[in-house]
């Protein structure tokens, strides 16, 4: 796992990874697609390619926030028998430059360890039927060396228990900022940012798109005043997107579906897939840097965003 990250001035490994490698590249793939062994090679390839943070998806059967690409990857991973324990064993085994985060749905967190004896550690009376709770998952995640958790179906309002457990174990709980997140809710969420703010580029689900939406520019403008790292995801697939997003003020870009596409295309040819993943990561990282350079050249005067 990512023991390579040095002690630093930031609150967490995750924030450090973004700040210190600015503009940061955050990559996502689904663990177990097409197998956990392959995932290990792909994570290492992404790490080599210049990823500054890597999100690993723990598959859940009802991925309501995902588009068709990642949904299909999750189905492949489930069909291959991917379990939470297998996932954690993979993470135990990984040694990457980039810190690792787990991205999964809330029910997976709730059920982890649920078959063990009833726990009453949170002070509730132990009921005849075991009530699901989040600590076993967080403990195991921390133990495996994960640096943070992203839960697409857990808005800030419901995040109390998981946030507390993450705090106790030194993990970041990354919140998503949607184009619809505004006003008081935006303030509240931004004040709780842990690691970085995951800026959702557009309404809808995950999935590679041909261009950068105007919503991205609007969101980044809206977030300008908040002094937290911002990474933009949902629809980023090319170096030029990365450049544009960074140019528009992001501290990092998040790429998932474009990488999952590569994995899907190559089927069982793990070596070729790994090679292309590494190259794609490098392209995206270069793109992000290009965006940052252009900012430096233009000084404070950011260029007009290209409207899609």
């Amino acid at each position: 796992m990512s023991d390579a990250v040095t002690e630093n001035e930031y609150d967490s490994d995750v924030e450090a990874a973004i700040r210190e490698n600015h503009p940061a590249l955050i990559t996502y793939i689904t663990a177990g697609d097409p197998s956990l062994e392959d995932t290990k090679e792909y994570v290492e390839a992404l790490d080599r390619g210049g990823s500054d943070l890597i999100e690993l998806g723990l598959p859940f059967s009802e991925p309501i926030a995902e588009g068709p690409t990642i949904q299909a990857a999750i189905n492949r991973a489930l069909a291959a028998g991917t379990t939470p324990e297998g996932f954690f064993e993979l993470v135990d085994d990984l040694e990457t430059e980039a810190p690792l985060l787990v991205m999964t749905y809330y029910n997976m967190i709730l059920q982890y360890g649920g078959s063990e004896a009833p726990r009453a550690s949170d002070g509730r009376a132990a009921k005849p039927r075991d009530k699901p709770e989040v600590r076993p998952f967080v403990e195991r995640a921390a133990g495996a060396g994960l640096s943070g958790i992203i839960v697409p179906d857990l808005p800030a309002e419901e995040a109390g228990p998981l946030r507390a457990a993450c705090d106790d174990h030194g993990l970041d709980l990354v919140f998503i900022i949607a184009p619809t997140t505004e006003g008081q809710r935006l303030d509240d969420i931004m004040s709780q940012v842990s690691g970085f703010a995951y800026v959702q580029a557009r309404l809808g689900t995950t999935g590679a798109r041909a261009n950068v939406s105007s919503a991205t520019h609007e969101s980044l403008a809206r977030l300008e005043e908040y002094d937290v790292p911002k990474a933009v995801g949902f629809g980023v697939s090319e170096g030029d997107h990365a450049a544009e997003i960074v140019e528009a003020g992001a501290d990092g870009v998040i790429v998932g579906s474009a990488l999952v596409d590569i994995i899907a295309e190559h089927g069982s040819d793990t070596g070729a897939a790994a090679e292309r993943l590494e190259a794609k990561a490098a392209e995206l990282k270069r793109g992000a840097r290009r965006g940052a350079d252009s900012l430096t050249v233009d000084g404070e005067d950011a260029p007009e965003p290209e409207q899609p």
Partner: protein, 423 residues
């Protein structure tokens, strides 16, 4: 939330503002009748929907079970099931909220057709997501939706059934949330949907309360309703929750067995209240049919409308507190319930509702009547009491083919000779 645990809003951040907007609208229009919203709702349910539906004394069932059995006739509602109460309520609410488009998921097609007719009635563009497998199984409902002017979007993911249709509708909503309202079809989903749907459906129990008092001069000893997602269940129960003397029975689909095959991710039942465990699905903490690791399993019932791995969080809460008694009957008992009501009372019930009738037979039937069944006489036998109301949530015309097929496979005591169907 209901109690400490059940309910909540476990949805992508992008939907949270819409849920807050809906919560606000729910409070103003539904709870406070702002702009006369609830008046218009009730008026349209009367004129367009056919409310009130009758509470009918079932003469021959009363004789058979030696007690007073009343049937709440939601099968007579426009569209053929209780679904319109909710669909019309939500489409009207969307209109009051200034939304321009309606989306909904559907499994067997009942909620989709109800939403399509409500949308046509209120002149709102409407798109329905439906799994491709369900589309092929339920073509007449697809036609009805199309004829009512709704688009039907096939969902090809997974097994192409309700679960996938819900996921897909949520995805649409995550994209279009600003001008689109998602009409959830049961008392499931994130807050405020479970309360919103319950409040629209509670017209069922409100009417029963008034009608049974008029007919029998008192409240019933027990109320029986089938439970899938739970909208007819809570709609029937809500008016009685505070009446401790009225026992509430939620009858789930026992399918072919209560065991879950975790290996295959299959539950040959949808007895979520009876056998499920707590977890989060489709926006709410509730009881679920899931593997130990948290993957949702495929439920199964002979009744497509009960075939769902979750259940309304409020029902989960009421079961947890002991206010509602969860029971279940298997496919055979439901089919017998179907044939019994058809034959004895001249009412062909939906297979969903047939579960409630199957339970009635088990709990109230004589020992002789049930001697051939596999299950023991239910422990709650004596608790049904002398005055029982059963909700007939829908009519069974939609189920004729299924019932014929399934009847032919079995030796059912209440079924007519199948051969003669070939007349």
């Amino acid at each position: 939330t209901f109690g400490d645990d059940y309910g909540g809003q476990y949805v992508p951040e992008a939907l949270m503002p819409a849920l807050q907007e809906l919560e606000d609208a729910y409070e103003r229009y539904v709870l406070e009748n702002e702009d006369g919203f609830m008046d218009e709702f009730h008026e349209r349910m009367r004129d367009f929907g056919g409310r009130p539906t009758p509470l009918q004394r079932a003469d021959r069932l009363s004789e058979r079970y030696d007690r007073e059995i009343y049937l709440k006739r939601e099968d007579l509602l426009h569209g053929g099931a209780h679904k319109l109460n909710n669909a019309l309520g939500q489409v009207l609410l969307a209109k009051y909220m200034g939304k321009e488009r309606i989306i909904a998921e559907t499994g067997a097609g009942q909620h989709g057709t109800a939403t399509a007719m409500a949308a046509a009635h209120l002149d709102m563009p409407c798109e329905i997501y439906m799994g491709r497998t369900d589309i092929n199984r339920q073509r007449p409902n697809v036609y009805r939706m199309r004829m009512n002017g709704a688009e039907v979007n096939p969902v090809t993911a997974g097994s192409g059934t309700l679960k996938e249709a819900i996921n897909e509708t949520m995805r649409d909503w995550a994209t279009t949330v600003e001008h689109t309202h998602y009409v959830i079809g049961s008392i499931v989903g994130p807050h405020p949907f479970p309360k919103l749907v319950r409040d629209f459906q509670s017209v069922i129990g409100d009417e029963i309360r008034e009608q049974i008092r008029e007919e029998a001069g008192r409240l019933p000893d027990s109320v029986v309703a089938c439970a899938g997602g739970g909208s007819n269940t809570m709609g029937t129960f809500h008016a009685f929750v505070r009446d401790d003397d009225v026992d509430l029975y939620a009858v789930e689909a026992g399918g072919s067995s209560l065991e879950i095959d975790a290996e295959e991710g299959l539950a040959p039942n949808s007895a979520t209240l009876s056998t499920g465990t707590d977890g989060v699905l489709h926006g709410a903490m509730t009881k679920l049919l899931q593997s130990e690791e948290g993957q949702i399993v495929e439920s199964h019932s002979v009744s497509a409308g009960l075939d769902y791995a979750g259940v309304g969080p409020e029902l989960a809460h009421l079961v947890e507190t002991g206010r509602v008694t969860p029971v279940n009957v298997d496919d055979d008992a439901a089919l017998n319930g179907f044939h019994r009501l058809s034959n004895l009372e001249g009412i062909i019930p939906a297979l969903e509702s047939s579960h409630a009738l199957g339970y009635l037979e088990r709990a109230a039937g004589t020992a002789a009547d049930t001697s051939s069944g596999q299950r023991p006489r239910d422990e709650h036998t004596d608790e049904l009491g002398d005055l029982v109301v059963v909700n007939v949530s829908g009519r069974g015309d939609k189920d004729l083919e299924t019932v014929l097929e399934e009847t032919e496979k079995r030796d059912l005591e209440a079924a007519p000779d199948v051969e003669v169907f070939d007349a």
